[in-house]
Symmetry: C2
Subunit: 405 residues, 2 copies
């Protein structure tokens, strides 16, 4: 008999039929003797429809009022799931974020959970009820409704699991778990049984499709194991946990790739203190996130500086760069949006030197030219030509034996 | 500078365009130097759509979960109106029922307001904000969301007006006010400048289309004047107030009619103690409301008993009556659904004997046969043949000089 917190995303509650499907799954879990706390997102595209209504009012949208509006989506799906469970003979009760005691700061649209008062949840659990909680929302100490921003429901689930000391925290989406590579790109990609918090975070996009980084950080911070599962089948999922809980024979856990990648190079940047700062500050002020940066060896007091950004931010970045080139007295700049980033991720790297070398070798064997390189303790990333992405991912997947369990 | 509570019903916030229209009206009221508290219903048929979703879950619907679901409708319209006002340059904030401190009992679907903690409302007013409150909802002392049942938003508005000691309470709908008769039936029906709480209640359907009886009772109980207005024009409305505030020369204030009327007669009912009780208890137990009752003079220890019910309840009532006739040993029964009720309402009646006689005379002059009669201190109602309804209403309207201001 264990206490389980399970989160079901928007696709799992897209319509009443799907709500009935997950209700059956929840019923089964209860029948197996578990105490259940369920966190739900809003049904399908409810949130988008509400945002559209808000836009129709015209003008600026107050964060507080937006949260007041958007929070209704999860409240609705929570109530509907509770009804469905009641109709299935399960004693269930729905709670809003504030009823569940989820206290947050007052940064509307992307509030951070500051505290959870678990009294009400505990009281209902003690009555033997299945507790359905509206995810994605909280309440300020002043009594105003907030929403937690993208992936907020994942964070709600983890925070609640930590708060009530749950035995298990499950995140249900429409994928089976975390794979060694994108199965659409690598036919023999395997689902991982375990992955460390750090690896999950380094998986970036590949991982974020499954669970929001903020939620992973919250789990890591509180040392809460999280199981990612598919709400449409009974396959075992992937458990996100501490590194030491994992099989350690693995050096590389997965190969990730990111096509949302563009490269900008600035030539003959005068080598003066603070130039780099000027450059990246200007980009940051325009809300452009710089990923990788390399500075070439100096030639007569001038450098070439190259960096990558999200491809979708290129049009926003170019005018800024244009102006900067003049301002800092560089000779010229170039850009390319036909690049991609391939990464190998593995907690095992820390204790295994030479992994990067193996990566470069694997790419060289395929005659894939490496444009830029960045590394972290458990990740090595290379910028390559976009056309060679699949070839690179397959080669790396093979090189590090990810096709073999 | 006065403090005004104004309630706008579903038709006034049916879509964003209408929300913008009433926002302009609210802005104008504020520009005139008033402090505004606005109570809103859910947009158009939001509530019906939510009920449909709930029905789709199948089975019985938990009152608590239904209220959890339905309360989101008003929360949405409140937030959207606040945004619209903000965009129009007015500082507005939306509050849910619980944020506005509206405490109720826990009879879900038709909860009664037990208390209002006006702290939050007052705080926001003191900041110079327009306070938008989600109507139709409250919160139990235990922290569960409730809804107040049909016309709940009217009751919210009156209760809040009383709670914050508002100078004026306005109910906006899509009619200009209370008329001396249904204008669709009497061409020269006049809009009343004043009507007493008691008269408004006796107006039954005619009045209920404009303001729910529960809300009228709440206003009467707390002696709060209520102004009913049309949200789509600037015509002066009707003020519902204490009798003594009104011009007293008026004997009859209005003529009401009700076509949702059916008559059932039971013949040769043995004159035994408790027979009537048995009869009406059985009907009540089947949720059938009996309106008028007459018992004919006794013939050899047997009576005829006739009564009226809502026409829409006839099919539900007949089997009950069928069985009762056997049970109590009556000879037979008959029914008719081609009857109507016409009433004259007027607080002045109390001090003017002979009003009923004038009514009967007016009907007699038109050769309208009176089937049943019932009276209250300020109302006389007659059951007549449905086909003669309009003729009767016009005659009574004329008889009591209602066409003349």
């Amino acid at each position: 008999m264990s206490l389980i917190v399970a989160k079901f995303g928007g696709s799992s509650v897209a319509d009443i039929e799907r709500v009935k499907t997950i209700a059956q799954r929840i019923k089964r879990m209860q029948d197996e003797g578990n105490n259940m706390v369920i966190v739900v997102s809003a049904m399908g595209d409810t949130t988008d429809e509400l945002i559209e209504l808000a836009r129709a009012t015209g003008g600026e949208l107050s964060g507080r009022e937006m949260d007041m509006l958007l929070a209704t989506g999860e409240q609705q799906s929570a109530a509907l799931l509770a009804m469905t469970l009641n109709n299935a003979g399960c004693d269930a009760i729905s709670l809003t974020g504030w009823q569940a005691g989820i206290v947050s700061d007052s940064t509307y649209r992307k509030a951070k959970i500051s505290d959870i008062d678990t009294n009400r949840i505990q009281t209902e659990l003690d009555k033997g009820k299945i507790v359905i909680i509206a995810g994605f929302q909280g309440i300020t100490p002043g009594g105003d409704i907030t929403t937690l921003g993208r992936g907020g429901s994942d964070t709600s689930a983890v925070a609640i699991a930590v708060g009530i000391k749950a035995d298990r925290c499950q995140i249900y989406s429409d994928v089976d778990g975390v794979f060694t590579a994108d199965p659409r790109m690598v036919s023999d990609a395997r689902k991982l049984q375990f992955i460390s918090y750090e690896e999950m975070l380094e998986m970036a996009i590949l991982g974020a499709m499954i669970m929001q980084p903020r939620a992973v950080e919250c789990a890591m911070l509180n040392n809460m194991d999280v199981e990612v599962l598919n709400s449409f089948n009974d396959n075992p999922g992937t458990i996100i946990t501490e590194e030491r809980n994992m099989e350690q024979d693995r050096v590389v856990s997965g190969v990730a790739h990111d096509l949302n990648c563009a490269k900008i190079a600035i030539f003959d940047v005068p080598d003066q203190p603070g130039i780099a700062r000027t450059l990246f500050k200007a980009l940051a002020e325009n809300g452009i996130n710089v990923d990788m940066v390399i500075q070439s060896a100096m030639r007569n007091n001038h450098n070439d500086i190259a960096f990558t950004i999200g491809r979708d931010e290129l049009t926003k970045a170019l005018p800024v760069v244009e102006e900067l080139v003049k301002k800092i007295g560089a000779s010229d700049y170039s850009y390319g949006d036909n690049v991609a980033k391939v990464s190998i991720i593995g907690a095992g790297m820390q204790s295994n030197p030479g992994v990067a070398a193996d990566m470069f070798e694997a790419l060289a064997d395929e005659e894939i030219n490496i444009d830029m390189i960045s590394t972290s303790e458990i990740r090595v990333s290379c910028i390559i030509n976009e056309d060679q992405t699949q070839k690179a991912v397959i080669a790396l997947h093979k090189k590090f034996d990810l096709d073999r369990s």
